[in-house]
Symmetry: C2
Subunit: 402 residues, 2 copies
Amino acid sequence: MLIVKKFGGSSVADKDRIYNVARRCIEDYEKGNEVVVVLSAMGKTTDGLIAKAREINPNPPKREMDMLLATGEQTSVALMSMAMSALGVPAVSLNAAQVAMHTTSAYGMAKLKRIDTERIRHELDARKIVIITGFQGINKYDDITTLGRGGSDTTAVALAAALHADACEIYTDVDGVYTADPRIVPNARKLTEVSYDEMLEFASLGAKVLHNRSVEMAKRYGVQLVVLSSLTRAVGTIIKEETKVERMLVSGVAADKNVARISVIGVKNEPGIAFKIFNLLARHHINVDIIIQSIGREERKDISFTVARTDLQEAMTLLNENREVLTAQTIACEEGVAKISIIGAGMTSNPGVAAKMFESLYSANVNIKMIATSEIRITVLIAEEDVNRAMRTVHDAFDLAD
Amino acid sequence: MLIVKKFGGSSVADKDRIYNVARRCIEDYEKGNEVVVVLSAMGKTTDGLIAKAREINPNPPKREMDMLLATGEQTSVALMSMAMSALGVPAVSLNAAQVAMHTTSAYGMAKLKRIDTERIRHELDARKIVIITGFQGINKYDDITTLGRGGSDTTAVALAAALHADACEIYTDVDGVYTADPRIVPNARKLTEVSYDEMLEFASLGAKVLHNRSVEMAKRYGVQLVVLSSLTRAVGTIIKEETKVERMLVSGVAADKNVARISVIGVKNEPGIAFKIFNLLARHHINVDIIIQSIGREERKDISFTVARTDLQEAMTLLNENREVLTAQTIACEEGVAKISIIGAGMTSNPGVAAKMFESLYSANVNIKMIATSEIRITVLIAEEDVNRAMRTVHDAFDLAD
């Protein structure tokens, strides 16, 4: 079997953890498997490098930032290889140029285009464990790029696809995907498996297990993922194509507090206004979620939507600067809100799921401000102060507990 | 003009020093020159990385060590490029793979074979300052190598040769080459220029200004070097081919305390014994300096020589293990010794230089234990406790003071 194993920064933060990871990889190797390991930078290394750069130049060129950040993963892979060598197992570390991992040219947010597998195959054939830098690539100028947030997960998935791996294991701080955040819902249950689409919804709704990009790539190339903890031996969660004939109506509940509501009030009731608003925000890379358009008055209408709270200030500035073009009378915003979502591939064929969710929130006296639905999720906007209570209520209503 | 400027680790140890170096490079750039900068790792970075590696594995694989160490210079060049960018000057950092700097495969002690200049030329033509990692290269496997001690100086000289640079400036802690160590001989004088051969003797005799490898390469390719300080504006020392018709008899005095004497006593007076001794040591990379062979007794003779004090223990172990093969009766050693040398291209044609040195040492009551001479230097072994007094005496005898 060819196994790709990815470990995040906290899994290789110090000597003990490096050896812990080395031993887990060697276990697989000694069973006769081919083992490819993908590593992030150790602990807080990347944050430290960013701080160092900003001390020199508050607005460093992105190309040079990537040149700097890439040293973080290179340090991890070299030290891991040394640890495996100390344990008597032949290993070799490779950076993105050595592999080579070809990406687009967009420094700081490059996308993987193609992975050469020749060098990796050569080293695997020599019965070595191959340890590869996550998060980084090279572009057509031979310059180093980085993949942005969730980059190392994406590296692992892309490698698994390129190498036709039999398994792709993502080791994180948590030991799987839960029906809800266990810190808020103590009786939350770990899911044995979820579909790619459900995982995408979980990820975009605040579950910090896997970044969307890696899940999207896994779905596109049919790479089956397992999410596990590097510190325990607990069985993880499998992420794969939907296969079960009968399954849970709802897989889990997710909450996201990084949200704010914007209302563009009193715009002219004519075509193109909504386009202008969302195009303006999109051009500045501000994502918009739940959108509601009033149909109340004749000449004027209101358009409300949510953005990430971290984007609120920029969004408000942009909208106010363009208030006249947008024909808006006022632009208002609200910060003390949160999203709560239920996710489940089973809900498409089951009417009444939304009603059950709304009923449980009503019975808990939680007011719903906005609603958005997709094939496999229902999201409501509520007051931030209600969010933990709402999660537990909904979790109970769908019998998700252990 | 194309100028290669090399700065050591202490010259880029922190933000202020990085900016100091950036400004000095920009001065040359703004005069219309093409500027290539070679950097070492910042301050004690390399030592820190070595310690980190040894914590993981006391005997780390050399390939992985080079993979790790190379991150040091990559960090320096990225930060330097950011500083120049903050000062409004276009700059680009390149690591050894991006250049590419082709070396032999010997990890930790690779030798430069060939430098591709295409990428550097391309960036210079775009009017950028090009900042290149010293000390490192890539071998035929695309693996990262390091050049060993004095590596960054060698990188700079090799780049100057490959780019047909008009100047190669080596910035160090000191502002040039002196007639003697100014800490010991307060009235020592800075030399305006020295020949490659003299510099080689200075370097191998304990002057820490430049490593021999870089001087040898400069001599081979006719690269004229200037040694200067990154912290002052003092005129440095030029190192070039001998040109002056008339010149100083003696250029300077050097002392080396990293020395010990070994005596292999009572070996059989037959051919091949000396070969066996020095071959044994050479195979273990132990360099031998002053050699004296007694011609006293008929059947047995003594062979004495000096080694670096740091090699003494290993040398003694090796010799004792092979005592019977070497036909030796005893092997003795002495640690409290030092070498003092006078260096000067003028001495070849001037008899009496040695006599003058010996006379001055005699008048200062310094006992000479061993003597070795070359075309341009005379070295004597004396007691370590006499070394500072001996230096000042000889320095005065040859009128080297300011």
